[in-house]
Each structure stands twice: as C-alpha cells, then as structure tokens.
Symmetry: C2
Subunit: 374 residues, 2 copies
DNA sequence: TAGAGCCTGGACAACGTTGTCAGGCTCGGG
DNA sequence: CCCGAGCCTGACAACGTTGTCCAGGCTCTA
C-alpha cells in the first residue's frame, strides 16, 4: 500500500459510507500544524494588498481583475503594475463561495489507465474546456464504496456537474445532490434507482452482431468470456450472446460461458478450459478489451485455429495474424455526448432525463472469419 | 470545434497569456444570469440551517461534521438527524477559504488519451488519494500557451501542488506560485528557467542502448524517426542515437534522421523515404510509442525484413511477427515518484530541488535481432 | 453659473466555514 | 449550601472575493 503516514493530509476524503454527509468521524491522526494565524495562504497577496499598493479601493482591483468597465486607463495601469509586482493571483475559492459556481465538473471512472477510458476522459475534458470548466477526476477501481466516496467528495467541492461511470448499483445517495441542482450524467452503464441522463453503447446489439458474425462463418460451439455479471455492460453483452445463439437455434451450454474478474489468470484458465475436452469451442467472443488481449495470448499458444471476436477495439489489432475482428464502441463519442448533455443541463435547456444509446460497429479483420476447425 | 456558445460559462479559463494574473480582459459574452439574490447554492442547506433544525449552535454542527470531540451523544444524534433530513453536505470551498489548503493537486499533461499518460496519471492519482487529496487534470495538447493557461487556472483554484509535464520551454511564469508555496514537480521533461524538482526517464541512455542493440546485430545504416526536436525527450533520444552511432564509428547521414510531429502521415513518409533509394536503412529506431505503431504498419507492407527498436513499450508488441523490441520506460513509476516527491515537499521534509532519472529497460522480442537484409 | 446627469471609485455586507474564547451547566467536595 | 473544576455549547470574527449602493467630481447645457 502507499505511504500515507506523512503529515500532509489536509482533508481526508475517506468518508465512512454509512454516513453520507461528507464528514469524518474518525479522530484526527497526526497532521500538519494549522496555519500560523496572521499568515494567509502562504503569504499570498490578496486584492487588499494590491489595492493598498496601487493606492486604490478594493473593488477597483476586483474590477480590473475581472475586466469590468468603469476604470480609467491610468488607474487600470497602476493596478496592473501592483498585480505584477506582487504576483497576485485571484483566489477562486473565495470567488466560488461568493458566486456559487465552481466552473468545474467531476468525472468518476473505473481506471484512468485503461485504454478505453483515456479517450473518454479526454473527450469530457475537451467539452468542459469549451465551456470554461476544469475537470476533476478519480478512479473508483470498480469499487462501489470508493465510487460513492469520490462522488461525495466532488459534491463537497461543489462541482457544477458530475459524469459518472458507476461501479455500484444503487445511487440513491445522490438524491440530495440532484435536488440541489448538481447536473449529472451516467456513462457506459446506467444508474441505479435514480432518474438521470444515461449515455451507453448498444452493448446488447453489438454483442449479438459479433456473435452472429461467428455463426455466419459456420461456428456452433462459441464461447463467451466476460466481466463480472453485476457490471451492466457485461450482463448486456452476455444477453446479446445468448440471443444470437438462441436465434440460431443453438442451446447454449454452461461450459461455454465464463464471467468474472478480467484478471489475466482467470481469463486464461477460462479460455483453456473451453478449448479443451472432447467438444471444445471453435470460436470465442470476448466481453471487453482486457479479456480480448489475454485470449489473444492464449490462442497464440495453440496450434489449432480458433475464431475470435472481441468487444472493444484494441490498438494494433489489424497487424496481428490473423487480424482481430472486433465490435468497436466509440469511447470518445460516449464521453463527448455525456459531457454535452451535462452542460445542456446546466444551461437549463434540458428537460427530462433520457437514455441515449450509441451504436457499435463490427470491424472485420480476419479472426472472426476463420471457419470451425473440427 | 466544440460548441461553446451556450450560456453556461461561469469562469472562463482562457487567460490571455500576455497578462499573467488569472483575469480576463475580453468583454463578457452571453452568460447565465447571476444567482438570484437570496438563494444560496441552489438552495443547498448550510450548517446554519442544520443548526436551526437541530436547535443547536452553528459551531456544534461544525464539530459534529468534523468529528471533533466535545459533543454529547444526544446532541450529536439530533445534529445527525437534521443533516440526514436536509441532505446537508459541507461546502469545501468555504472550508478551503478558511483553512488555506485545498487538498487537491493539479496534473497537466499532454494528452490523457495517450496510452503512455494513462498509467502515469493513474499513479499520481493513487498517491494523491493516499494523502487525502483529489486530482484535477488537464491536457495541454502540446501547446505552451495552453499549458500556462491550465497551470494558472489550477493555481487560481489554489491547488496545493502541481505535477507538470511541460509543453513549453519557459516556466518563469511559475515563480510567484513557487514563492507562494505551491509544491511543484516536473515529470518526463525538465522545466525551463526555474529551479524545481524534475523526474525523468533516462532518455539518452535508453536510446543509446536501443541503438547499440541494433548495432550489435550488425546494422550500420540505422534510421531514427522521432518527435519534434524542441521536445526534450525527443532531443535526448536523438542524442542517444547519435552517441551510439558515433561510438560505433559510424558517420550518421542526414537522410537517416527525421524529426517532426508524430502524425501518422508524416511518420509514414519519413519511413518510406529511409527505406527507399540505393542505400536504404536496414534498421529503424523509433522515438516514441505513436511513431513505433505507425512504423510497424509501414514495415508490415514491406517484403524486405527491416529491424526495429522502439522507445516506449506498446501493448501486444509481443504477439506481432516478429515481436517488437522496445526500450520501455515505467510510466507509472514516473508518476508515482513525482507525486511522492510532491507530497514530501508539502510535508516540509524536502529541501533542495533535485533531478531524478529513472532507468529504462530494453525488452528484446525479435524485431531488434533481425540481421541486416542486404 | 447653477443644476442635471454621468462617470469613477470606495465602503460595506454577504457567501459558508472554522478557530477563539467565554459563558453556562453539572457535579462533587468542603 | 456554596464554590470550583470540568465539560458542553454558542457568539463572533475572519478567510478573499463580489454585488450593491452611495459619494464626489466631472462635463454639458440652459
């Protein structure tokens, strides 16, 4: 675990989930001595200091800093000089306190390091930037408590809006925030027990199409390896798989399906099992990018050709032998759509919450077109 | 361009770079009507409201919310009830204003969507979390003005510290911030004209080792394709290349080196040129992950075998034919090291700024071991 | 030249929280 | 019965900024 024993810990984020108020009940641990009275903000100059130095009133400085009219060029020059000389920088905390808007939005996702979330996050950031807002983000690590903790910490900072890729299934804890006017959009997965905007991919349809593609190339025994079933996307993709199979008149066997953590070891075992025995699968549909990568590795170690279609595109998929056929979703579009909706909520131009579903796209590259090898 | 014509734009971040005060001189565009006087924060309850409802004093509520001692269980219960009933959430802006610390750090990087920065960002976040701080981040898109704009916006929010992957080369604009005690660490690339902590990879040594590897396999005509020379990492890697070549007694020809944007089209052209003509290169050293990916695509279209070593590891590199030999740097370690140093600055346990260089690792997978094919 | 109107600048309160400090209560002992 | 000690509680000021409002000086016109 990381070292957190040092003395910097100005505001502990770890909120006991039982109480939802954003406060802490645990006693303080060692912490940095409080600010010496009289020193403000590491001695940062304030508007008062600037005013004193420029020989003008406080409000005049405010006017200059905010580009408000009603200041003579000469006065403005004097103020600017003082600002430069003192290295003054407006304190946005105070500004926020006064104005009520923070010009920042929060993004809670599963893992910033996942190649799927990078572009999504970037897209949200671009939209935020276009609206003059900053992005604060945090990773939930697929842990519902941590998600709630993060969301509430963001609310305590009074973000104007939240984009959430939920880890948990119950979001009633957000009700007071919604009532208070925090714009909220869920992405990638729906919200539980609250009525908010949701932007998702067509996970069901995408998976069905991907599996149908395998069926069209003659496969009957097709395996499915996916994420934990409590995750909505995983469940939907499994449903797509089952539907495609049923529509083709195939009775799905339990041994063909494996759901669980996307840890390489688990996935590897699942794949090996499906590929062994008297009646091994001849094709595998993988439920997300991490699973796909691991299965590619497994298949590379086998001599028998096994067809593969994966959910989520992966880099270099086209250069492998054979190229990896995938059901691609547009992560950037998910993020962009969600963020745009968020700002429309803030505009007031948006009325009832809606569920938006973005299409997926089957990209054929070879691995899905292999015929059954038995 | 993104739509920013809507009315939500509470605090424009776009600061004219000429003036460094965090204020705006452009006249206001349309903007949301100011808060109706009397309504506070979308009618969010405050401690005062909680106090009134619980029939206690303001400070008692504060004590309960912050888990301070000196409140009877009965009083605490009443306060908790009121908190629950009103959906109260502490306003951290006010808290920050009072306490002087924001418990947040800023991260400015080039592009969140780049697979190199995802893990770095995540590592910074983990360290921040361990110290009870939130992460605010922004992408500079390799634009110096945008970097400055972002950094200053973060400073206006009074982040406690900054982790910066610089785009620009001059950071004197940070001097007032440093003086004011904003902890600062530069990562991946050094800072310009200011004395701060820097954490970088051994770009020079890594590139030299990678090129030496090619030399050891008999190559003499080795090409180098890298990022723009004004980017420190690109320049260092080029220097590593030249040093390795010179140490081997080879006079580097201009036609072997190509530096510029990592746009696939430019890289593709550069590679094609090196591979054509009477004396084509027999091996290529690529300066970063994006270049490597494009060059792999180019080489896949050629029949002649060309050796390749790339800077930065890339996913699935082991599964290509041949596997891609790379000089890997540890993005997560860069982020972790930088963030840990940042918090040590905030602790006060850190003295003089330092430059930390992390080693790189040559991972051989085949592409670098191909013999010259002429 | 007086009065009206405009322009500039500044005093003041408020935003929601926390640190300081003092007052009131209970309880036990003299 | 009174007093002091110790524990709870709350009044108040301050953090830095911005919106409101008013004062004073200027220009322009009658």
């Amino acid at each position: 675990m990381l070292d957190a024993t040092s003395s910097y810990n100005p505001m502990d984020l770890r909120i006991p989930v039982a109480d939802r108020t954003g406060h802490r009940t645990v006693p303080e641990t060692t912490r940095r001595s409080d600010r010496i009275p009289g020193t403000r903000y590491g001695n940062r100059p304030t508007m008062k200091d600037v005013a004193a130095r420029a020989g003008v009133g406080l409000k005049t400085v405010s006017r200059v800093v905010n580009g408000e009219p009603g200041v003579t060029p000469e006065t403005e020059r004097r103020v600017q000089e003082a600002i430069e000389a003192l290295g003054f920088r407006r304190n946005d905390s105070a500004r926020v306190l006064r104005k009520g808007r923070t010009a920042s939005i929060g993004l809670v996702l599963e893992d910033l390091a996942d190649p799927f979330y990078g572009p999504l996050s970037r897209a949200v950031e671009e939209v935020a930037r276009a609206h003059g807002a900053l992005l604060i983000n945090g990773s939930s690590a697929e842990d519902a408590d941590r998600e709630q903790e993060l969301v509430l910490a963001l609310c305590a900072r009074r973000v104007d809006g939240l984009v959430v890729i939920p880890a948990g299934g119950d979001h009633r804890y957000l009700e007071p925030e919604l009532k208070a006017g925090v714009a909220t959009v869920f992405v990638d997965r729906p919200a539980g027990h609250i009525d908010v905007d949701v932007v998702v991919s067509d996970n069901f349809g995408g998976a069905r199409d991907g599996v149908s593609h395998l069926l069209a190339h003659g496969h009957r025994r097709i395996g499915f390896i996916g994420d934990m079933p409590r995750i909505h996307t995983a469940a939907e993709r499994l449903r797509g798989y089952r539907t495609a199979m049923e529509d083709a008149g195939i009775a799905v066997e339990d041994a063909w399906m494996s759901l669980g953590v996307t840890d390489p070891e688990r996935v590897r075992r699942a794949a090996e099992e499906m590929l062994s025995g008297p009646e091994p699968v001849t094709a595998i549909f993988t439920g997300n990018n991490r699973v796909t990568v691991t299965v590619i590795r497994v298949l590379a170690g086998h001599t028998r050709q096994v067809a593969l279609v994966g959910f989520d595109d992966i880099e270099l998929a086209d250069l492998l032998q054979p190229g990896v056929t995938v059901v691609a979703q547009d992560a950037a579009a998910l993020g962009r759509t969600a963020a745009e909706r968020l700002f429309r909520q803030l505009d007031g131009t948006l009325l009832a919450p809606e569920r938006i579903e973005l299409p997926t796209r089957l990209i054929t590259r070879g691995s899905g077109e292999l015929p059954p090898a038995d």
